[in-house]
Symmetry: C2
Subunit: 318 residues, 2 copies
């Protein structure tokens, strides 16, 4: 058995069971990939993939077990590399963060500016995705960490460290009738067409639940991943938007008005997501510290080791 075989296996699965796609991302020829998998199957004496006429359909149950172990091995490999690079004080390196649009656009710019100043030689890339996708990316090691709202059905390969509470606001055009409704109620909102987050975002889930509890259903005329798109449509008079409060910028959004709706919708939890047992390089820990100052290196280390950070104290609002 061979490390390359295991890495190959992981990549093939990540590429949707496509040998040719894996060959590209691994910078290897296709036949090489075929062989790696074949030799692995031969050595283990069992098929990993279900094939039909030279076409790979899915993993066998046994293949899934092997994959799980292979992923853990690949993670540990990265850990060894990261730890060594850290020790050598390699100032350069890569750092990939998965996050949702709202965080990328409104929360992270400050953090990223600071990070770029302190670590100019680290290549930072952002990858935009839904919270569920974020967790998957972390789980397979495609990104180093994710910053997103917590998902209910978390994979147990990842650890979510809660950082902030996230409240909602209603964004409306100036002089909208809702601005005079005090206090704001779900029933009042239900009278207007709504623009909000897409399925799969916790924002949407929280909204649907708050309406359902009143026996109502929101009249969602448009769902967007992107808070900016939502706001643009509010300006056009298509409807009102229910967004994270952070997604409203008083100066930039001077053409809009906002109404706090923290009392109507359950707050979401904004977390840092990392793979369990992963070694985070010093600059990654530093990044997390810039994002959430209470997450010191020690606190993150403890959380990664598996234990939740003691008493779940009240989180600060973002």
């Amino acid at each position: 058995m061979n490390l390359r075989q295991l890495i190959t296996l992981c990549e093939v699965v990540d590429q949707g069971l496509k040998l040719s796609a894996a060959a590209l991302t691994l910078h290897r020829s296709q036949p090489s990939i075929t062989r790696q998998i074949q030799e692995l199957e031969e050595e283990l004496g069992a098929k990993i993939f279900l094939r039909k006429r030279n076409r790979i359909l899915e993993l066998t149950p046994h293949g899934r077990e092997i994959l799980a172990s292979a992923r853990r091995i690949v993670t540990e490999l990265r850990n060894i590399r990261s730890a060594s690079d850290d020790l050598a004080e390699t100032a350069h390196g890569n750092f990939t963060v998965a996050t949702t649009h709202t965080q990328a656009r409104y929360t992270l710019p400050r953090v990223i500016r600071q990070f770029k100043g302190e670590y100019p030689n680290v290549h930072l890339s952002l990858r935009q995705a839904t919270p569920v996708q974020c967790c998957e990316l972390v789980a397979r090691g495609a990104v180093d960490i994710a910053i997103c709202t917590e998902t209910r059905d978390a994979l147990d390969e990842v650890i979510q460290i809660p950082c902030y509470r996230l409240n909602r606001s209603v964004v409306v055009p100036p002089a909208h009738p809702l601005l005079k409704v005090k206090p704001l109620t779900i029933e009042a909102i239900a009278r207007y067409p709504v623009i909000t987050y897409d399925e799969g975002f916790s924002g949407r889930w929280v909204l649907d639940r708050a309406f359902a509890r009143r026996g109502l259903e929101p009249n969602v005329v448009l769902s967007a991943i992107d808070a900016d798109v939502s706001k643009a449509y509010v300006e056009m008079g298509i409807g009102i938007a229910i967004l994270a409060t952070v997604a409203f910028d008083a100066t930039r959004d001077a053409g809009l008005r906002t109404i706090d709706a923290g009392h109507l919708f359950a707050p979401s939890t904004l977390s840092v997501v990392a793979r369990r047992n992963s070694y985070l390089r010093a600059y990654m820990l530093s990044f997390i510290g810039m994002f959430a100052p209470k997450l010191t290196r020690a606190a993150i280390g403890k959380a990664l080791a598996g234990q939740p950070p003691g008493a779940p104290r009240k989180l600060p609002e973002l």
Copy 2:
């Protein structure tokens, strides 16, 4: 980086930082081992071992980190192999159990006889050690499982699954005055020279504590790993023995008498010890089931995944 390098690293450490010893157990030449380590250090750009003039002294802090990851990788490797062998229904295989003398001699023979009957082609080996050593052997993967009394300071690489309560008895020659002391007390025992387990065994620890709580100290004239040795010395009139109740066999030990001391000494817990996240082959699970029938495959799987088996019910007495 290479699997062989990581396996080599683990073995070198297990052999007490001796390259030559590792070469023997890995069936490789010494220069090969040297190169593996050198190449690993070179690739990572950091020393793993602290050397002094061609002599390896210890691991560097960084080396310890790498070792920890390497061990996890080697474990997962074994998991992959075991799972594959299981699937192929390979009836043969190896199985190494670490245990203490008392269990090897009095508890396990029944289990082993049954196991040998059902799996004649599995090569089973027992390895005798103290409970602490047992856990270490499991932790570094030198044995598949251990069966021993629980140790207080358990390594977090291993999981201990409690199975039985273990009580003590006092073993005396026939017509010994203690036979007439009813109920038996610590104070009464303290009047006689005692033979019992060596340091490092939970039996010894429990005994010392029971005496200390009364402000007494046992007059230990001989400490042995081996209950049979202890009993032999009792027969010779050297002293009385305080042993696990299971270590007394009424027929074989007809020349001795036993007094239950369950009310004087805290019971120990006899557990199965396995490495966390390890894949145990079907026949190993079967063995554990023969030893402790309540440990079904599902129960063991749950315990290995990391969670203790719910409410710690009262354990059966052995």
